[in-house]
Amino acid sequence: MPRTVSTQGRIGWTVAAWAIALLIFFPILYTVITSLKTEPEAIAGFNLIPSFTLENYVEVQTQRDYFRPFMNSVIIAVGSTVLGIVIAVPAAWSMAFSPTLRTKDVLMWMLSTKMMPAAAVLVPIYLIFRDFGLLDSRLGLTFMLMLINLPIVVWMLYTYFREIPGEILEAARMDGASLWGEIWHVLTPMAVPGIASTMLLNIILAWNEAFWTIRLTTTNAAPLTAFIASFSSPQGLFWAKLSAASTLAIAPILIMGWFSQRQLVRGLTFGAVK
């Protein structure tokens, strides 16, 4: 028998769903609203109606260089993602298609590194970066973010690869494909949806990463996260400008996420429903 929901029930649920969605979205919305206020308005207290001024955006653009941190964010996010995928595809391939007795342990160990508080390794990492001359460099940060997200990338790819029937890879082997031929001609094209959503998620994670990006950079390699943080200056907080900078920082990733949401949702629920 199909479940029946009364009209009142449906209205109730709809209102509740919208309320929760709005609650989750509210911080972002309020950031955008604040960015359209004047500084005195911004510190005046809670107010949902701004004066719609664009002066904060102009100031963020003119007083500080937005373009440089933006480019840093792009390079670091995309670079760490590509590098991560190149390393993770063979790793996930071997774990998915020729697992050993310890494969599950290796996967758990990789994930366990994500459970470690980042602050615990701040000093050693900082010293390593200093000694290798990687502080405030895009290369160093790209490498760092790749390593941070690698466990998640390997896990996600492992899950996708497990969905690919082993017989197809065996067929490729019978057809004369080498190991790389198998990965390049058969596995990768079949896993494109999975790889794409893994890349999207990784770009978002890398874009938003703030702990390491703020601590390992000063000016040259500082991405947008560090750019936002720089608005809390010794002269005091400039809420409106900070909000304008934040809006500019999250806008690209928000737009990208919006356009790829179908892919992302499909990717994140891959294999969950058959």
């Binding site: 017989e167 197809i168 067929a171 082997r173 019978m174 057809d175 004369g176 494909a177 058969v186 094209p189």
Partner: protein, 333 residues
């Protein structure tokens, strides 16, 4: 050429022994069918020949060459999988041409050979489609096309028809037999369906628990099963097997008689029986009867017989067609 020799081949997964020790000779051009119940090791044996599994011991020779530790691609074999294992992201043409591409053939040669394979398999109009847009039978033909373009020394089939419906299975069975007649290449075919085994094979290898029970032509196996397992496995409906006094009378532990070797009469005969179910197949009738002191029997009678549930009939075995088995399950001469 396509002569395959297995010498003392063994396979275990950890402590589990799948194939204790197998010796087998497959002649060039033969159509050999591995048949046996689920889990008897027939697919594993095929995968060992293909090189998709490593042997735990023994040697595999193809045309006299030791290939035991060679990669699958080097063995010059082609395989058709149960799930077809087509590349879903490639068109039919690309699927069929893939082995040639991997072998480094020029695109002209690939195109020519793909077109030829497609012609043989009636796939010419489907070359630009993806596997997802094809029916089960067409997918199976693409899988076969992918196998034949390389001109392998032998074809391996792993239950290729089990995903098809009954009608299509019959057609594909004929097509594969036809292909064998055309190409005259060695074919090794795994199935659990003994009708496929009986109709297609030059030689049947009956496997049970990783051991070969008997090797022979279909009719050999049918007429003179060497043991109880083969007697019970080959033939549909199964051979009637009886133990006890009746068997002792014939100097055996167990005796067997095929359903068609029991004559039916409504008036007189050797064993009195009551009809349980009568399956009228048109050409003949299968009677599932129960005889006191003997037990359940299956009898194949003519299509015209008019008996029904509850009727009493008399059944007389053709003693010259009786199979006798000793206490070890082996056939007695």
């Amino acid at each position: 050429m396509g002569q395959i020799t297995l010498k003392n081949v063994t396979k275990s997964f950890g402590a589990t022994v799948i194939i204790p020790n197998i010796n087998l000779e497959i002649e060039d051009g033969e159509f050999v069918v591995f048949v046996g119940p689920s889990g008897c090791g027939k697919s594993t044996l095929l995968r060992l020949i293909a090189g998709l599994e490593d042997t735990s011991g023994g040697t595999i020779l193809i045309d006299g060459r030791d290939v035991t530790s060679e990669a699958p691609a080097k063995r010059k074999l082609a395989m058709v999988f149960q799930s077809y294992a087509l590349y879903p992201h490639m068109t039919v043409a690309k699927n069929i041409g893939f082995p040639l591409k991997m072998a480094g053939e020029s695109s002209d040669v690939i195109e020519k050979k793909v077109a030829e394979a497609a012609r043989v398999l009636n796939l010419t109009n489907y070359l630009e489609r993806r596997p997802g847009q094809l029916s089960g039978g067409q997918r199976q033909r693409v899988a076969i096309g992918r196998a034949i373009v390389r001109q392998p020394s032998a074809f391996l089939f792993d239950e290729p028809l089990s995903n098809l419906d009954a009608a299509l299975r019959g057609t594909m069975r004929l097509e594969i037999s036809e292909l064998h007649n055309q190409l005259k290449t060695t074919m090794v075919y795994v199935t659990h369906d003994q009708i496929e085994a009986m109709t297609m094979a030059d030689k049947i290898v009956v496997l049970n628990a990783g051991n070969i029970e008997q090797v022979g032509s279909p009719l050999d196996l049918y007429r003179s099963p060497q043991n109880l397992f083969v007697a019970g496995f080959i033939g549909s409906p199964r051979m009637n097997l009886m133990e006890g006094q009746l068997a002792a009378k014939h100097g055996a532990k167990t005796i067997g008689i095929r359903p068609e070797h029991l004559a039916v009469s409504t008036t007189s005969g050797e064993w009195k029986a009551t009809v349980g179910v009568a399956e009228h197949l048109g050409s003949d009738t299968l009677l599932h009867v129960h005889s006191d002191g003997i037990g359940p029997l299956t009898v194949r009678a003519g299509g015209e017989i008019g008996v029904k549930h509850g009727d009493t009939i008399w059944v007389t075995p053709d003693v010259s067609k009786l199979h006798r088995f000793g206490p070890d399950g082996k056939a007695l001469k």
